[in-house]
Amino acid sequence: MKYLMFVCSDTEPDADPSAAPDIEQWVAERDGKGQRLMGSVLAEPSAATTVRVRDGELLLTDGPFAETKEVIVGFDLLECADLDEAIEVARRHPMAYAGRLELRPLVDLD
């Protein structure tokens, strides 16, 4: 199954930041195991542009579609057998400690 892992900030990070694993090592290991198909850090929300078309007219808004304290700072596309494997991948990510991760399965349309 494919999961999109949203990497988010959190207002209440883990008290001990030194416990968090290293991101380079995480990427290398997950890529090596074929569990991470791609991923990236995102520019900050202020760089976002929200796009809508209404009544044939293009409407652009400066900023993200929702203003929240916790923001998406990156993403990874995972390939895992099931949710338990995806959870094991996510719990080893440094942002599981410093922020929070959201695992969203991709809908298989086949």
Binding site: C80, A81, D82, L83, D84, P105, V107
Partner: protein, 405 residues
């Protein structure tokens, strides 16, 4: 006629989770599995009284449910692989000694999947009741004080998440099992307390004991599983003595101990002997065992109980555990010690509005000799409880201490 209906009931209780679990494993479709198992039960109710009870009732239910699933899938024209696997699915009748093989593993898988931590806690209990125990949704809804449609949505949503989120149908192993087992045990214990509460549904307590027994048979080396089973058996042994003929609750002190289920106590103690670790359930079971083995309330080994609570409070320093610990110390070492610990447990308003906290303070105050103050506290506690049976019990205690109040 009645015999045949009884046979359906017995075979249903025994075979239902196995049939559902096996069909889920092969088809991956929770709703289909449940529908087919229910249809098999309905068909049994229709046929067995007429044609006689089959020699292997569980096997009959399995075959009938399987055939039904084949029909449905065939009509839906799903993959051939599932159909082939279904065709191979046979009689699940377990020999009592059987502790391995796919049949047993199916039920264990089902329990672990229903209790997966990615599901909402209230959904885990409901799903376990519905799928593993086969309790009708309307019945579950009543006990959880929600409408049937709310409960149906909750269960449907949980099943949908299992499918879309890719929650595996598997018993975890190694470190994952250590992480996941407490969640499963918590669901079973919550199920039990839902049955054991003053206004609870007694059948849920029986169901929890049955599932704990199953889990213990499937995982005989897990200390906390044995401990949970022992705890449930020991608490459940008091069920016939907990109420007087008018339905009023009796405290441990007031219960007629000859009405305790001494067979259940003996079994609970034997099971507890296998719990080698001092985990939270083992500690609670040892506390229950100390009560169960005291011939009279006065003979209760309160210093031992206070010691188990000390350990439990170190593992789980929750306000409720600290309150129970305070009570045990009060009964072991005098009401002044107990009242000081009650005050500690309540520090910061942690137990405000929690009736047992007032009742504990009341009981210790009574033992210190201040009957009027104790009666007033019991009345305060009575004003806070939701259960009518508990309210009557608290008011009765107040009346004993202060008949004029």
């Amino acid at each position: 006629m009645t015999d045949a209906v009884d046979a359906v009931t017995v075979a249903g209780a025994e075979a239902y989770p196995r049939v559902v679990a096996a069909l889920i494993r092969v088809t991956g479709d929770w709703t289909l599995a449940e529908d087919c198992a229910q249809e098999a039960l309905t068909l049994a109710l229709e046929r067995w009284p007429r044609d006689g009870v089959p020699g292997n009732p569980g096997g009959w239910l399995m075959t009938t449910a399987r055939n039904r699933a084949v029909d449905v899938l065939r009509r839906a024209a799903v993959e051939r692989r599932k159909l082939r696997e279904l065709a191979l699915l046979t009689d699940p009748e377990p020999a009592p000694a059987e502790a391995e093989g796919t049949v047993v593993d199916d039920r264990l898988r089902l329990i672990f999947t229903c209790c997966h931590p990615a599901l909402a806690p209230e959904a885990r209990v409901a799903l376990t009741l519905r799928t593993v125990a086969g309790v009708p949704t309307a019945h579950i809804a009543r006990v959880f004080l929600v409408t049937e449609s709310t409960m149906t949505r909750r269960i449907t949503r949980a099943k949908a998440k299992i499918a879309t989120a890719g929650i595996p149908y598997r018993v975890p192993t190694g470190a994952a099992l250590v992480e996941r087992l407490p969640g499963v045990l918590a669901v079973l214990y919550l199920l039990f307390t839902r049955g054991y509460d003053a206004d609870g549904e007694p059948a849920f307590a029986d169901e929890a004991v049955r599932l704990a027994r199953l889990l213990d048979r499937l995982m005989p080396d897990e200390s906390e599983v044995a401990a949970l089973l022992a705890l449930l058996l020991l608490q459940h042994s008091r069920r016939a003595a907990r109420r007087d003929p008018d339905g009023n609750l009796r405290t441990l002190d007031e219960q007629d101990r000859s009405r305790w289920d001494h067979e259940a106590v003996a079994e609970g103690l034997a099971v507890l002997a296998r719990a080698h670790r001092h985990g939270p359930y083992a500690l609670q079971a040892r506390i229950a065992a100390a009560h169960a083995t005291a011939p009279t309330p006065a003979a209760t080994d309160w210093p031992a109980i206070a010691g188990w609570y000390d350990e439990l409070a170190r593992l789980h320093p929750s306000p409720v555990v600290r309150l129970n610990r305070a009570m045990a110390h009060g009964l072991a070492y005098g009401p002044a010690t107990g009242l000081a610990l009650v005050a500690e447990a309540r520090a910061g308003g942690a137990l405000d509005g929690y009736p047992p906290a007032l009742a504990a303070e009341a009981e210790l105050t009574a033992r210190r000799g201040d009957a009027l103050r104790a009666a007033a506290l019991f009345r305060d506690a009575a004003g806070l409880v939701a259960s009518a049976a508990e309210r009557r019990a608290l008011l009765r205690r107040a009346g004993q201490l202060d008949p004029a109040g």
